[in-house]
């Protein structure tokens, strides 16, 4: 009798035993290049005032696709930031294609236009069957035009899902003052303490 109970009990355990698999991905897959804006005032007597986080108004950012056949840049259809207010940081997607090693962005500060080109390598990073794969990047070089942007500095080379400041864009306070007094409207620049 005990043996029959044992057999029945164990078969019931066996039937109830199931391995449920969860197919949903809980990992973040959003890979972004984070760029922060800084105002550089190297002549300031107070050292702590020489570099300050800065936010700008009327910021527009759009990707520029390089056509290797024509050798020209073409604007990507969708706009990343469209006349955005009070922006001190921007998150940008880098180009995923294996043979593309650079991503170029047109950054418009009100009426002044600069371009920023990021040279990078693309790395395949397989996460799991549920999450699939992401492409992370390693920044090699950053070059910008200098109409409004003064300079650029790479802070963290690895671009992945971790929220990190990858690039610092510096704006020269002297240039902003000139722009303010002349044709370029740079009235809405704010400094963060």
């Amino acid at each position: 009798m005990k043996k029959i109970i044992f057999i029945v009990l164990t078969f019931s355990i066996l039937l109830n035993f199931s391995c449920a698999t969860d197919d949903t991905c809980i990992q973040t897959k959003y890979v972004k290049l984070t760029v922060n804006f800084y105002l550089a005032n190297p002549t300031d007597t107070i050292i702590s005032n020489r570099i300050k986080v800065m936010s700008v108004d009327s910021l527009s950012v759009q990707g520029l696709r390089f056509d290797s056949i024509t050798g020209l840049y073409q604007l990507v259809d969708s706009i990343l930031y469209n006349n955005q207010k009070r922006v001190s940081t921007i998150d940008l997607p880098l180009n995923n294609q294996i043979n593309i090693k650079r991503s170029t962005f047109k950054i418009r500060f009100n009426t002044i236009v600069d371009t920023m080109t990021v040279f990078h390598s693309n790395i395949n990073d397989y996460l799991s069957l549920e999450c699939g794969c992401i492409i992370t990047h390693a920044i090699d070089t950053v070059i910008t035009t200098n109409h409004f942007i003064d300079s650029a500095r790479i802070n963290i080379h690895d671009v992945n899902t971790i929220n990190a400041e990858n690039i610092r864009l510096y704006f020269d306070s002297a240039k902003i003052k000139i722009n303010k007094s002349t044709t370029i409207n740079a009235n809405n620049i704010r400094l963060h303490k």
Binding site: K3, F6, I7, T10, F11, I13, L14, F17, S18, C19, T21, D23, T24, G63, R65, V76, S78, L80, P93, N95, N96, Q97, I98, I100, S103, I123, N124, D125, Y126, S128, L129, E130, G132, C133, I134, I135
Partner: protein, 246 residues
């Protein structure tokens, strides 16, 4: 007076004989070392994996068997071998496929304490440890990375990936002799991976013998076995149990 002496002396004599017989009986009833070191071996087949492979339509199959040596009815060195595989398509249409063999080696300990007056039994309540390993190939195909902004969606394949995974298992279960030499039993296993994930490596979704690649898994085995004991006949023919030397 003489009669009293005869009575007392005969009573004492009887008492001494009884005590001697009882002592002798006791010695025979509880032989301290009657179980030989090697008591044959059991060949087992896991039914749970076969049943779950056929009943659950989840693309996973597994079959395994083992051999268990009986040492003094206390220690059971065990070797298990099996084949397993999985075919899985994720929600994003990524295909994973693997087939491979696995092996486990370990030992079970009989936790059942024999009471002096209990009947001899071959039923076991065991706990044990296993060390498992599997070297297997797997394919991960149709891995699509959507990229909407630059319109640069890409698809990758990772064919013929090879890896070796090692894990340990904590096992607890029972075994019952249902018919002469035929054993039935079940055990529950807690499996833990020892091998670490290599950063950047395409990790397998399923590991043969371990299950889903989650770091830790639970397993269940329902075994049918036959016990081979070549020396048993020889022992049965012995009328007297061997006694321990003082």
């Amino acid at each position: 007076m003489r009669i009293i002496f005869v009575y007392i002396s005969s009573f004492l004599l009887c008492l001494s004989i009884n005590t001697a017989v009882a002592q002798k009986k006791k010695q025979i009833a509880i032989p301290t070392d009657t179980i030989p070191w090697v008591n044959g071996f059991t060949v087992q087949v896991d039914v749970a994996s076969l049943v779950s492979s056929s009943l659950m339509n989840n693309g996973i199959y597994s079959s395994e068997g083992g051999i268990q040596l009986d040492l003094k009815h206390k220690f059971f060195p065990t070797y298990e071998i099996g084949a397993a595989g999985a075919s899985k398509v994720s929600a994003d249409n990524i295909n994973f496929k693997t087939n491979g063999f696995f092996q486990r080696i370990g030992v079970d300990f009989n936790l059942r304490k024999k009471k002096p007056d209990s009947k001899p039994t071959n039923n076991l309540f065991v706990a044990g440890l296993r060390l498992g390993a599997s070297n297997f190939n797997y394919n991960v195909t149709n891995v699509t990375i959507p990229e909407n902004y630059w319109n640069a969606s890409t698809t990758f394949d990772y064919p013929s990936q090879n890896t070796t995974r090692i894990w340990y298992e904590i096992v607890i279960g029972v075994q019952v002799e249902v018919i002469h030499n035929f054993y039935m039993g079940w055990n529950i296993r807690n499996k833990n991976l020892i091998s670490k994930e290599v950063l950047g490596q395409v990790s397998p979704w399923y590991i043969p013998g371990f299950g889903l690649n989650n770091g830790a898994n639970w397993g269940f085995n329902y075994t049918l076995g036959y016990h081979f004991w070549p020396q048993k006949k020889m022992l049965k023919n012995r009328k007297v149990f061997p006694l321990t030397k003082k």
